[in-house]
């Protein structure tokens, strides 16, 4: 446990735990509404924020938060109004965000793409004390929203039309989901990196689904998995001197593969249990009554 003696590792681990909790917590709603790649889009937009941070000599974390929140609101508005050309507009937003980031970083005095690298792929040593403060505040917001409003977000993500008729403020909740996803991206940016953020939103949820039958269990297992891979990835990264973001994501995918392999026997056991619970006289196999008249007396 010698890694705990280093202040930078304590900060990195704290940031990793917060990422592990928040990314799957909001990611599950993105997966539920079948927009799993939204995190990717926001990650690209956040690059402009990082670039602006360098250019204006402001905190890249807060600038990225501001820009990605703005970008996510814009994406949500495009989804409402730009029905037919929505996908093209979203593509513009993604590429524009990425290009803007590269441009602003290079315009900044003494700036080059090298400054961007730690934001793109994550890094352990660069998580500063002020970053930790920002990440903690942002993560608290994400946890508050995803736990406090989980029933509302579930209803809206499951069936938007029905949610409207139960009187839920559907548009406000959609906006809140987008903003929360944007905030999560900036929480994850320092450790996992903007390019790989989305993986931690989606893959733990997909892995948990291999075992679960309920939303609540999927949520719990996804978050537990997110925390586990974030911590173990961060520690591995310390000892092996490999980038933390890539380590965490590869571990998550390994967990997905392992759970998928474990799920097959589980599904068979559940099927057997269901067959045993089925009342007699309701056979699982088809039985075709013998001796039926040809055509069964069909007539028009």
């Amino acid at each position: 446990m010698e890694f705990l003696n280093y202040a930078f590792m304590q900060r990195a681990l704290l940031a990793a735990v917060l990422v592990g909790v928040t990314a799957p917590a909001i990611g599950i709603f993105l997966v539920q509404r079948r927009q799993p790649l939204m995190g990717d889009g926001i990650g690209h937009v956040a690059m402009t924020g990082v670039g602006l941070g360098f250019l204006l000599n402001a905190s890249p974390v807060w600038m990225a938060t501001a820009v990605s929140v703005l970008g996510s609101v814009l994406m949500e508005l495009i989804r409402w109004y730009g029905r037919t050309r929505g996908d093209i507009a979203l593509a513009m937003l993604f590429y524009g965000g990425m290009a803007g980031g590269v441009m602003f970083v290079n315009l900044a005095p003494g700036g080059s793409n090298a400054n961007l690298t730690s934001y793109l792929f994550g890094s352990l040593s660069t998580v500063s004390p002020s970053d930790v403060n920002a990440i903690t505040v942002l993560a608290a917001f994400v946890v508050l929203v995803t736990l406090g409003l989980r029933r509302q977000l579930f209803a809206v993500s499951q069936d938007e039309e029905f949610a409207r008729v139960t009187g839920l403020p559907v548009r406000a909740l959609n906006l809140l989901t987008a903003v929360t996803a944007a905030v999560t991206v900036t929480v994850a940016m320092r450790v996992v990196g903007l390019i790989l953020v989305s993986a931690l939103m989606v893959v733990p949820v997909a892995a948990a689904q291999q075992l679960t039958r309920s939303f609540a269990a999927t949520f719990a297992i996804a978050v537990a998995l997110g925390v586990t891979v974030s911590i173990s990835g961060t520690i591995t990264s310390f000892y092996q001197d490999v980038p933390p973001g890539a380590t965490i994501v590869l571990l998550t995918i390994a967990a997905f593969v392992a759970l998928t392999a474990a799920a097959a026997p589980l599904a068979r056991r559940r099927a057997r249990a269901a067959a045993a619970a089925r009342p007699a006289g309701e056979p699982a196999e088809c039985s075709i009554p013998a001796g039926r008249a040809a055509g069964d007396g069909l007539g028009v």
């Binding site: 997966v31 029933r151 499951q158 039309e161 029905f162 409207r164 009187g167 949820v205 039958r213 039926r292």
Partner: protein, 255 residues
């Protein structure tokens, strides 16, 4: 007190540039069961979606419980069963989780109390799905799924039930459960507006039928009687495109 539950006057709506509703008048009074009939594309579903605010009406007025729809906030009084689609959410969810989402309009800030959990259990019992509460919805048949959606609408104990094609793609056993569930609701005084393709097993419950054609009201009155061969008791629907040897669908035995 005696204001109509639903009042539509001269409602028009377009989808894109195509007019779908061309001046619809529809009144549903308290305790009535009204069926909205018509061929595909006649505007039945659009009329329902205009009532719940999913499709904007370009002209005319829509009132719910005497309040203009735009200002209507009392959604707990309305239960809605959308047309069943195969698209489920991207994450597994159990029957009781889905039904619980219908109870949100009765809770404060989404906090569930014992009475809410009790209401979920009761709604599942009403549609005969109490023993499946913990099962994932994607493991259900079409008819069972439809029963879950109806339980989701009933769990808030609505005064008005709006259903879009509740019988479409539903097996016979589920059709009977749905018909008896609806009968109980009607006996309690629930007002019902439902879109139907044909009257089928719900026929005895229906007070009034409104038939649409090309976005206009063609008929508003007693439900049309089936004519010709369709009216014969035990009439078999034999579909020429059904594979030979399949069991004929005996709709007449159900009603």
């Amino acid at each position: 007190m005696d204001e109509p539950v639903i009042a539509m006057r001269g409602v028009t709506a377009e989808l894109g540039a195509r007019p779908v509703l061309r001046g619809i008048d529809l009144t549903v009074r308290r305790g009535e069961v009204v069926a909205l009939l018509g061929a595909n594309g006649s505007g039945k579903s659009t009329a329902i979606r205009a009532i719940i605010g999913r499709v904007p009406a370009s002209d005319g007025t829509i009132e719910l419980f005497g309040t203009p729809r735009r200002g209507f906030r009392d959604w707990a009084r309305v239960g809605y069963v959308p047309q069943r689609t195969t698209a489920a959410g991207g994450v597994p969810a159990t029957v009781s989780e889905i039904v619980s989402s219908g109870r949100l309009s009765r809770t404060r800030f989404g906090l569930f109390r014992r009475a809410d959990r009790e209401a979920v259990r009761r709604a599942l019992e009403l549609v005969g799905m109490a023993d499946r509460a913990g099962d994932p919805v994607n493991a259900l048949s079409g008819g069972q799924h439809q029963r879950v959606l109806i339980a989701r609408a009933l769990v808030a104990e609505p005064e008005l039930l709006i259903m879009d094609e509740p019988m479409a793609g539903v097996d016979l056993a589920s059709q009977e459960v749905l018909a008896s569930t609806l009968r109980e609701q009607v006996a309690r005084g629930t007002t019902v507006l439902l879109v139907l393709h044909e009257l089928g097993p719900l026929e005895p419950l229906i007070d009034r039928a409104v038939v649409l054609r090309d976005g206009c009201v063609l008929h508003d009155g007693p439900p049309p009687k089936a004519v010709g061969q369709h009216a014969l008791p035990g009439h078999d629907h034999v579909h020429p495109h059904a594979p030979a040897g399949t069991e004929p669908i005996r709709t007449g035995l159900l009603s």
